[in-house]
């Protein structure tokens, strides 16, 4: 089950990287992260009802100077693919995508979703990283946030349930 301790590592990593606005949609394994986003004053947390909204919200907040992230399950990544393509990638908007890897290694839910996830990220030409342990998160978030601005496109960190 997801731990509050690991969620706190993720939240501190986002804070360290200067992330200010986070749109989210829940997954059971993201619950502590999302509760932390809501509780911590450092973040402007915007819970959405479908992930494609989050890409629009992050883009709008970015235009206003905010550093943004979207927290979601990989099913949401698929839901968000059009907005990622026709807005974020088309006009070069930086944002961090934190994606829970349902159907990934060691997880028996949504096997088809798990199989297509990396292929979708590859087709969208979104750089992505998959940490093996929670210890890698902090540096990975920092590097990904710099890269999203440097490459001027979304960058994803895909989280196996085992790191939560």
């Amino acid at each position: 089950m997801p731990s509050i301790e690991n969620a706190n590592v993720i939240l501190q990593s986002l804070q360290r990287a200067g992330i200010e606005v986070v749109a989210s949609l829940p997954d059971a394994f993201l619950v502590h992260v999302i509760e932390g986003l809501e509780k911590r004053n450092e973040f402007l947390h915007l819970p959405v009802t479908r992930e494609e909204e989050g890409i629009g919200i992050c883009t709008g907040a970015y235009l206003g100077g905010k550093r943004c992230a979207m927290v979601m399950q990989n099913a949401g990544l698929l839901n968000a693919s059009n907005a990622l393509t026709t807005t974020a990638l088309q006009i070069e908007i930086p944002m961090l995508l934190l994606v829970l890897y349902a159907g990934g290694r060691g997880d028996m839910s949504f096997p088809m979703l798990g199989q297509v996830t990396e292929g979708v990220l590859g087709a969208l030409q979104i750089p992505y990283y998959i940490p093996e342990t929670i210890d890698q998160i902090s540096d990975l978030v920092t590097d990904a946030v710099v890269q999203t601005y440097n490459a001027k496109k979304p960058v994803a960190i895909v989280l196996h349930k085992s790191v939560l």
């Binding site: 990287a17 959405v48 919200i57 883009t59 709008g60 946030v145 710099v146 601005y149």
Partner: protein
Amino acid sequence: MLRSECLESIVDLFDDVPCFVSVSRTWTEWNDLRPSDGNFKVKTLGSGSSLGLGLAMALPHRKIAVLDGDGAVTMNVNGLLTIGRLRPSNLIHLVFDNKMYESSGALPTATTYNADLVGFAAASGIESARRVATVADFRSAVENAFKTDGPHFIVADVVTPGKATSHAYSRMDETEGKFLFIRFLEAIEGRKIYQDAIDVKLSIE
């Protein structure tokens, strides 16, 4: 009433107002009436409300406008649910309801049949949701939206004159449009907004 009449009636209220404008004829009509770097062209159908919400949360002291159509709103009704939950007081969402996908072949949208966008917005928690049928009422509703806390959701019943068209070529490069929009915000805010990768790198210890 015509959408163009509605737009003409409010253009003087929009001096320094950032606007997210749905593609197609709403964009071309508005951009002709109010040529400004503060017009952001929304290409992902329906995402105007989400873009507007994001900017409204980033600049909470400033009114932000969304110029939308019924096809776009029905594509992303989720946006109304989130606006109704977060209730940004500075967001003004204008919807020109011509009951068709005007730029995609003039086929009917759900509002031709039984869908009521005002009812949906109100049921989502957007208290200031209303429908207007005359240009005078539209102007008055928009004036009120600038003077009072929102979020405001104003649906204008409009008809499309003649044959709907789908060409609406625009020479604006959208990536350039993004930079121009950010520079517009910097000018009205009087501060640096754009961060490049070096700014971001140096800001992280």
